[in-house]
Amino acid sequence: MKVKNRQTIILIFFLLSQIVLYSPLLSQERFRKTPPIPEPFPILQLPEIQHTSLYNGLSLWVIPQNDVPIISLKIIVLSGESSSPENLPGLATLTANSISQGVSDFSSSEIEEMVEFIGGNLSIEIHPDYSLFSFTFLEEYFDQALELVSRMLIQPTFIRREIDSMRTAVYYDLLEKSSDADFFAKRQLLQSLFDNHAYKKSTFNEDVLKNITQKDIASFFYNHYRPNNTLIVLTGNFNINTVFSEARRFFTRWQRREINHSTPPSPEPQENMKVCFIETPGAKDATIYLGNIVMPATDPDIFPLLVMNQVLGGTPNSRLFMNLRESKQYAYNASSEIEFYESCSVFSIHAKVRPEVVESSILEIFKDIELITNKKIPSFDIEQAKSYLIGNFPLQIETYNDLTSKVAEHKALNLEDEHWNKYYENIMLINSEKVFELAKNLPLMTPVIVVAGDGDIVLNQFGAFIKEVDIYNKKGIYLGTYKFD
């Protein structure tokens, strides 16, 4: 019994000693109450970009990296859909897709086999200002990849059968996209904003593809696919000298030609609010796009615009999302973005909302816009937006593909150091005053508004803020105007 009592005393003693010992530790749990203060942003050492050109004008931008045995290659032909003739929208798209459909010695199937043999992946993207070819492959097949690419750029055969088959694939691809409200509503926004401008050609629908002949494609290729109209951006385990000698080996015979190409004039912003409606019977949600034309990315005001966009709708913690989704519970999502073109940018807001609250959602969007155009954004919000933009930049260049995409976009849009080496400094200089000076002069209150949704629920809601609505179908064809009394 005595032994047991002694045990109890010792136990109590130890329990007390543990409380004393652990009390600082327990009190440290106070760290859970508030988030830790982050250290300053780490220094971003941007990768070096080396440049050289071949005598025929082909421009090469090389970013040496040696983390993984993969190469990312981007080819940018500086002619996009805006270079298609007025009567043949879609020609730049079909031409870009044609170059992998057969070269002098190989059919399209053989090219696919060759691409996949080198662990490769080839994708094509047509922008209004340029055509972008992305190619990633295993490093050990660098020679084979360059040889294949050079053949596609110099000797495509444009065989009718292959072109017809590719045209069908592009047609069905567009048709499939056209069933997505986000796709056709955004296309309608751009079509309305770029009315009477060369950029409108990039908003074509699948029906126009049948008008394009093999001869049209060959002619577009002959006039635009030239070394002096092309940039190559590469990242991988090599240096500029290796790339230069390999490029000389494969691209020297590519002949330059004078290109009849100029930057399109800047389109005028929409001066009066315009509403377009696209009927989607029975749709469970309504899609809203709202936007206008603003300055091109080369304008110094683009930096306050980036900060403003971030405050308004750049991420889910921005004002639009917090208001439309979290506070009002109208929307599944709500955001804003800036899309860059060579001669302008498009600032747009996108929201997916319940059909019965389309009007209320649009009114809330305008309230959020007024809050940044009528008064200064508090410094705290501006600093948080800058923090996102600075912190997020390295995330945009982490993969080889992301890195070459970013550099390719910079070069294609003629952006210089202001957007690369000096990006941090330019963002850091922005304050509430600069954003306010910019925002109050932007045409944000006279946008084009596109809504896709169930007409029975949505259409009558527009009467609260506009007298008439233009009705379009999913293909962008104008059907008529609906007037409110």
Partner: protein, 449 residues
């Protein structure tokens, strides 16, 4: 009385051990220096948390992955949807973090976040500038330690998922057939029911169900924390210690009983889907465990048959014979189970039959004729690039480490693993194809009228 004495003695020993350790949990460390990306694996002995750290200073970024070994296979009949509901709940606030605050903190620092749940795991991941690491650890530890589970946020999460199910059903008329096909192919409730859960079960889930599920599975000894990027390993380990060490260990989780060994019989069933515009079918084969040697060969067979536009089935069904409107397929892993699944949509019933014949004929060719060295090399190269891409940057690397650890409990050296894939011969392909692609297939025909 003796009981009490024994209890006190045990407690005394425990207290003595704790005081000797000075209040710090012991951590086992295992360095992997010969990996293509060196990493170190740790285990916190006090609560069983596994940690994997890998330094990569190419950019000032860090990726943080917290993966829990829990998915729909851990759900019981009548309680389906809990795993997915839990994934949603993890963004709805914890003791010290408000709803939306997690997202807001990550976004304001310039970072990105997301989560994913499969049949056997639930993964939360963030990619942030490296100065934000301690904030991510603070957020992740808070929701591991003390998630906010109340009637209001459970109801909100349930409504969001019910809406998602209804949208998915409206957008994909074949969803119903893919759920039925899984039931046939896995022949076991845990492995075969839809990961998103059933609408009826979801509606009936209670707050207590959610709390029980959280307390049972969202515990350090059922998780792995993997961090890759611009980190100082020593400092990071200290931070992890600070935020995760005091989270108590949970009860050990018994493994989910595996389905009976693959049944050696074929199953053919048909399902009427009036909303589907075109007929089609699902075809499946039961494969060996992902940890078996045969699985290396099966992975390459997947590339030969289904990956890329020059794969055998793509070329034959889409390009050459134009038999299908849609072709999807690949190997699917659910814990220790693996299946090859092919889904096809055709223009009409005649095409369905022709398409099946064409697939069987391609499998027959693979069983009876040696694949050319060139075609095999092509499949291996495509596989190699995808495999390398898994550890090309911080987030894929962190995911790769966490997922490998969850599925095998160890991290295999990727360089050695690649060697095994590259050593596969045409003879191996014939052998394995014959072993797994016999007549014991599962077919679900989709009828439209």
């Amino acid at each position: 009385m003796n009981e009490l004495f024994r209890y006190k003695t045990k407690l005394l020993i425990l207290c003595l051990s704790l005081s000797l350790l000075g209040g710090r949990a012991h951590v086992d460390a295992q360095e992997k220096k010969d990996f293509p990306f060196p990493c170190t694996q740790y285990k916190f002995n006090n609560n069983g948390l596994h940690v994997i750290l890998s330094e990569d200073h190419s950019l000032p970024l860090v990726s943080v992955v917290v993966a829990y070994r829990v998915g729909s296979i851990n759900e019981e009949p009548g309680k389906t949807g809990l795993a997915y509901l839990m994934e949603n709940m993890m963004f709805m606030g914890s003791e010290n973090v408000n709803r939306m605050q997690h997202m807001s903190i990550i976004n304001r620092g310039g970072g990105e976040l997301n989560a994913t749940m499969t049949e056997d795991k639930t993964i939360f991941f963030q990619r942030v500038p490296s100065n934000q690491l301690s904030r991510v650890l603070w957020l992740e530890s808070d929701r591991m330690k003390s998630l906010q589970i109340d009637a209001s946020n459970v109801e909100q999460a349930k409504q969001a998922i019910l809406e998602e199910i209804s949208l998915r059903k409206a957008r994909d008329p074949y969803l119903q057939s893919s759920w039925r096909f899984d039931q046939l192919l896995y022949a076991n409730f845990a492995f075969g029911h839809p990961a998103i859960g059933s609408e009826d079960d979801l509606k009936n889930l209670t707050v207590q169900d959610v709390r029980d599920f959280y307390e049972r599975f969202y515990i350090p000894n059922n998780a792995v924390l993997s961090i890759v990027g611009n980190i100082d390993r020593k400092k990071t380990l200290e931070d992890i210690r600070k935020y995760f060490e005091t989270i108590p260990e949970g009860e050990p989780i018994p493994p989910v009983p595996l389905p009976k060994s693959p049944e050696k019989k074929s199953i053919v069933e048909s399902l009427q889907i009036p909303l589907a515009q075109s007929p089609g079918f699902h075809l499946g084969y039961r494969l060996s465990s992902p940890s078996s040697d045969d699985f290396y060969v099966l992975s390459i067979i997947e590339y030969i048959l289904l990956r890329g536009k020059s794969s055998r089935l793509y070329k034959r069904l889409i390009k050459r014979e134009k038999l299908v409107l849609q072709l999807n397929g690949g190997i699917e892993k659910r814990q220790d189970q693996a299946r090859l699944k092919i889904f096809v949509v055709n223009n009409n019933q005649f095409m369905v039959q022709r398409c099946k014949k064409a697939i069987f004929s391609e499998l027959h060719k693979l069983k009876t004729s040696f694949i050319s060295e060139e075609e095999l090399k092509k499949a291996k190269n495509m596989f190699l690039k995808d495999y390398i891409s898994q550890y090309s940057t911080s987030l894929p690397k962190a995911l790769f480490l966490a997922e490998t650890f969850l599925s095998r409990n160890i991290i295999l050296n990727p360089a050695e693993e690649i060697e095994k894939y590259m050593a596969i011969t045409p003879k191996d392909i014939i052998g394995v194809t014959n072993r797994y692609f016999g007549i014991e297939s599962v077919i679900l025909d989709i009828k439209t009228e």
